[in-house]
């Protein structure tokens, strides 16, 4: 626990001075506050931007941050120093993961407030966001563990992040894209969030998200077996 705390506290201090990471946490929450208040079009669905940006935020921030943090520590050999101080890989990943998760949950709260969710709807929204953030963090960890430096991490992160954060938006305009996008957790999140308060939760969504989770966990295990945290 002491090691996890050490990594967690280190991460708070470190990322506070890391603009590229900080911007990931802030960009969508700030954008949603602005857009929700500034743009009011006729026929626009209620809280359109909250629903759109919430999914993009989840697809982007946790994934990018996890992979950037892990790969930077590998590149700069700070991770080595931690490992040689008997910090176990799972302690490191939990420390960093907890940090990213909490930061993103704070972001999710901003979305929840802007979306005006209350009571059961609020709970539903936060659970959906929480699950998405967890999955996205796990995906980012897979990339971070797999890459040996920041460059290679970025080159994998960008396409993966595009898929998860942009497909749900593109799906609104194109049905064939929607069909493909359905297999991603982020599209299912989008469906679930749009259904809060009316459509209810379809088992299909839960199953797809669960399958995404299993796939990410398998990929993580494979990447970790192959590379460890070297």
């Amino acid at each position: 626990m002491k090691n996890i705390t050490a990594v967690f506290l280190k991460q708070i201090k470190e990322t506070f001075r890391n603009k590229t990471i900080l911007i990931q946490f802030l960009m969508f929450p700030v954008m949603v506050i602005i857009m929700e208040n500034a743009i009011k079009l006729e026929n626009m669905p209620e809280h359109f931007f909250v629903k759109l940006f919430a999914v993009m935020f989840v697809g982007m921030a946790p994934l990018t941050c996890m992979s950037a943090i892990i790969s930077e520590e590998k590149e700069k050999n700070t991770l080595r120093a931690l490992m040689m101080s008997n910090v176990k890989p799972f302690e490191y990943l939990l420390g960093v993961g907890a940090y990213v998760f909490i930061m993103c949950i704070i972001g999710a709260v901003v979305f929840a407030v802007c979306g005006g969710y209350e009571g059961k709807d609020l709970l539903e929204f936060m659970v959906i966001m929480g699950a998405g953030i967890l999955l996205s963090s796990l995906t980012g960890a897979v990339i971070g563990v797999f890459s040996k430096n920041q460059m290679s991490a970025t080159s994998i992160t960008i396409p993966v992040m595009m898929i998860f954060s942009f497909l749900p938006m593109l799906s609104m305009f194109n049905e064939s894209i929607e069909k493909v996008a359905r297999i991603t957790y982020s599209q299912q999140m989008s469906i679930l969030i749009n259904g809060i308060g009316n459509a209810g939760i379809k088992p299909e969504s839960i199953i797809i998200i669960a399958v995404n989770f299993v796939v990410a966990s398998i990929l993580f295990t494979l990447a970790f077996r192959k590379k460890g945290l070297e």
Binding site: K2, K10, K13, E14, R80, A81, S85, N86
Partner: protein, 283 residues
């Protein structure tokens, strides 16, 4: 005296290439051992094996009574490791960098300050590591090892790439740790450092230890030429064989007031290394 480190028949290959070939070496408690060798000799590889970061193909190394391949948990408390490539957190200050490890090891803040003081970084306590010079970063990495206060220190090229004055300061810090009774295993490719600092050196070339012993003794052992060099008052130099006749020649020169200084022509480690391997020590 008990050995702090004992290495028995360590062998390691990367693919076809044999990087370490049957290494045997003992380091006594409280001793500074210098592993000396050119770039690519296998110094870092050996430290990695000794500290359990890498497994050996053959052989066994025992540190403080524990097999290095079986280190776990608290064993890491008993030794400090500074690898030549260990990083520091650029965005964090010196103090914050050490604080991470202080939390891990359960060390109080005053010990952090003490460690920074001991490496002369007190004034840079709040400076982000990215603004430190290369030498200061090395000192920060050393401070991390000193702070943990382990019995055994593994230092992989603690002074490489530093200017002579900074290197000298770091050597003094290492010397101080020895005076506290620590055992130090360090690698270097500067022989002056080894001569100055180490109780014993092991010369490593192509994965084999080609010579081992006290640096001065090694040099004496390789003093085949046995000559004396005399600087004369007229500015010239005279070399005479070091044998039964040398006393006479010297006393002659001294009596006539022509001898200024007299030296033996012992080779330095660099020369010994050249003789043994046909290779330069410094890359």
């Amino acid at each position: 005296m008990e050995n702090a480190i004992s290495i028995n028949g360590i062998t390691k290959s990367f693919g076809e290439k044999k990087v370490l070939d049957d290494i045997n070496l003992d380091v006594k408690k409280g001793e500074i051992l210098g592993l000396l060798g050119p770039s690519g000799a296998g110094k870092t590889t050996l430290i990695k094996i000794l500290t359990g970061q890498l497994s050996a193909e053959n052989g066994k190394s025992v540190i403080n009574g524990i097999n290095s391949q079986k280190f776990s948990g608290d064993d890491y408390r008993n030794f400090g490791i500074m690898m030549d490539n260990f990083g520091v957190y650029d965005r964090l200050s010196c103090f914050e960098n050490l604080k991470i490890f202080a939390r891990i090891y359960g060390i109080k803040n005053d010990k952090i300050n003490e460690a920074l003081e001991s490496v002369g970084l007190s004034d840079a306590k709040k400076t982000p590591a990215q603004n430190l010079s290369k030498g200061m970063k090395s000192r920060l990495r050393l401070a991390r090892v000193f702070m943990i206060n382990p019995d055994i220190l593994f230092l992989d090229e603690p002074t490489s790439g530093l200017d002579p004055a900074t290197a000298d300061e770091i050597q003094k810090m290492i010397q101080k740790e020895k005076e506290k009774g620590k055992t130090i295993f360090l690698t270097t490719h500067t022989m002056t450092e080894a001569e100055k600092l180490c109780d014993n050196v092991a010369l490593l070339s192509d994965g084999k230890i080609v010579e081992y012993g006290n640096p001065k003794e090694i040099c004496r052992r390789y003093n085949h030429q046995k000559k004396l060099k005399i600087h004369l008052t007229d500015g010239t130099e005279k070399e005479i064989p070091h044998d039964e006749n040398s006393a006479e020649i010297i006393s002659e020169l001294i009596k006539s007031g022509r001898a200024e200084t007299i030296h033996t022509t012992e080779p330095d480690l660099e020369t010994v290394f050249m003789e043994l391997t046909g290779k330069e020590l410094t890359a």
